[in-house]
């Protein structure tokens, strides 16, 4: 499995939400907020439920959106890995999944943002998960 895909809310029995990444300012570039609103139907769902995606490792990630007074919703976003409650995570797997999720996000945000520029930026800063050029 190499793609990131939307999935329904999984059973959370025996699971925990393991913090992965947070963004306080998802509309710093408004097209990013628009992407999440569009992808997770947030104008209709609001804060009712998280969004979920399955990453290339097979792990499901929860997207928990944050509201802030005076700022269009969502103002922020937290990403959590849904993992076995008492088991540690594999940080290398988590990092590769986050890379894939961000790449999927950039592809969804669209021009002028491109996955090619994302990959180049990752290579410039030597992110292990970035594909070699």
């Amino acid at each position: 499995m190499t793609e990131v895909s939307l999935v329904k809310m999984p059973s959370l029995e025996g699971k925990r939400l393991s913090f992965a990444l947070a963004e306080d300012r998802v509309a710093h570039y408004p097209e990013f907020r628009d992407f999440f609103v569009r992808t997770f139907d947030l104008d209709r769902k609001g804060l009712a439920e998280p969004g979920f995606v399955r990453a290339p490792s097979g792990i499901i990630y929860a997207f928990i959106f944050i509201g802030r007074s005076g700022i269009p919703f969502p103002s922020g976003l937290e990403i959590y890995a849904v993992v076995d409650a008492l088991e540690p995570i594999d940080v290398d797997v988590l990092d590769r999944d986050l890379w894939s999720i961000l790449r999927w996000m950039i592809g969804g945000v669209g021009a002028p943002w491109t996955v090619e520029d994302f990959d180049r930026t990752g290579r410039l800063y030597r992110v292990p998960a970035a594909p070699s050029g």
Partner: protein
């Protein structure tokens, strides 16, 4: 919030930073600073993602030239407190932090040495507290509202690097700016990697401590709706009527704030300024030319003293 102490520095680097740590409470935050020597104060201001260590080779020569040298670490960097919420940071707040320190120390006849974000912050302090300020030194920074450079409008690598979620991932999880970012913006990269890079990385050991490395880029105005647009507009206006003695020093190889654009624009804003003096250096010119920069500042201040503070 998190705070590092000087013990956070690798043992091999502590000899290169022998200064007694001092702390002030500014707007409720714990600010670390260095205070060495006696005489008129010279305040050395760093930017993103550095700290006072950037000036390590300028402190002793400036003290030897008869000056009191004060080097604060911006809240969020160095050995100062590091808020863990993005909303804790704003340009005016950082200027107010500097103002609080300057007033607590009751400094007068200050020479402000401004680099990177130390520029907008230090110059805003100078323009709002002119009675305390004696002179300015300006290096690799900007003070006007529209995009500083074409570089800052480009998606690769600048806007991509701090884009939503990517900033926390790349600059937070992967330390892109505090590590490789500084390395790419010096001339003597091998020497930098061997003797200095660890000092910048050590004080930002965890993703949460690196918050300001992706928050500051988001404060650079790219259009007139930007949060800091009005402040920069005010700053440019104030500077254009400032008569403070000013010295402009720039890195000859600076690709981010290139001398032809930025040093020249400061010279237009402050036509009485001395310079620009071009020295070997990219954006972090202090890493390549600290002794020469210290000499330029010392000799500039000596001439001001001889001329009764007039340029």
């Amino acid at each position: 919030m998190t705070i590092q102490s000087e013990s956070a520095l690798p043992a091999a680097l502590r000899d290169r930073w022998p200064h007694a740590p001092r702390y002030a409470n500014v707007n409720g935050w714990r600010m670390h600073y260095v205070d060495e020597g006696k005489g008129d104060p010279v305040v050395l201001l760093h930017g993103n993602p550095t700290w006072g260590f950037l000036y390590r080779d300028m402190i002793a020569p400036l003290v030897s030239s008869g000056r009191r040298v004060i080097v604060p670490d911006m809240i969020g960097f160095g050995l100062s407190e590091k808020p863990t919420r993005e909303q804790a940071h704003c340009l005016d707040g950082h200027t107010a932090n500097l103002t609080a320190l300057m007033r607590q120390l009751d400094l007068k006849r200050i020479t402000l040495v401004c680099h990177d974000w130390g520029g907008p912050i230090g110059l805003s302090f100078a323009m709002s507290n002119p009675a305390r300020v004696h002179a300015l030194t300006i290096m690799s920074t900007w003070a006007w509202p529209m995009p500083p450079a074409e570089f800052h409008t480009r998606i690769f690598p600048w806007r991509m690097m701090h884009a939503p979620l990517i900033g926390p991932y790349l600059l937070g999880n992967h330390r892109a700016l505090a590590g490789r970012g500084v390395y790419l913006s010096v001339i003597g990269r091998e020497r930098f990697a061997r003797t200095a890079q660890a000092a910048y990385e050590a004080v930002l050991p965890d993703p949460a401590t690196r918050l300001l490395t992706w928050v500051w880029p988001r404060w650079i105005p790219l259009d007139e709706n930007a949060r800091a647009f009005e402040r920069f507009k005010w700053l440019e206006q104030e500077l254009s009527s400032s008569e403070l003695p000013t010295l402009i020093i720039w890195g000859r190889e600076d690709e981010i704030f290139d001398a032809a654009t930025f040093a020249s624009r400061f010279k237009q804003l402050l036509p009485h300024a001395e310079g620009p003096h071009l020295v070997t250096g990219r954006h972090f010119l202090q890493e390549d030319s600290a002794p020469e920069i210290a000499r330029l500042i010392g000799s500039f201040l000596d001439r001001l003293d001889v001329n009764g503070g007039k340029q």
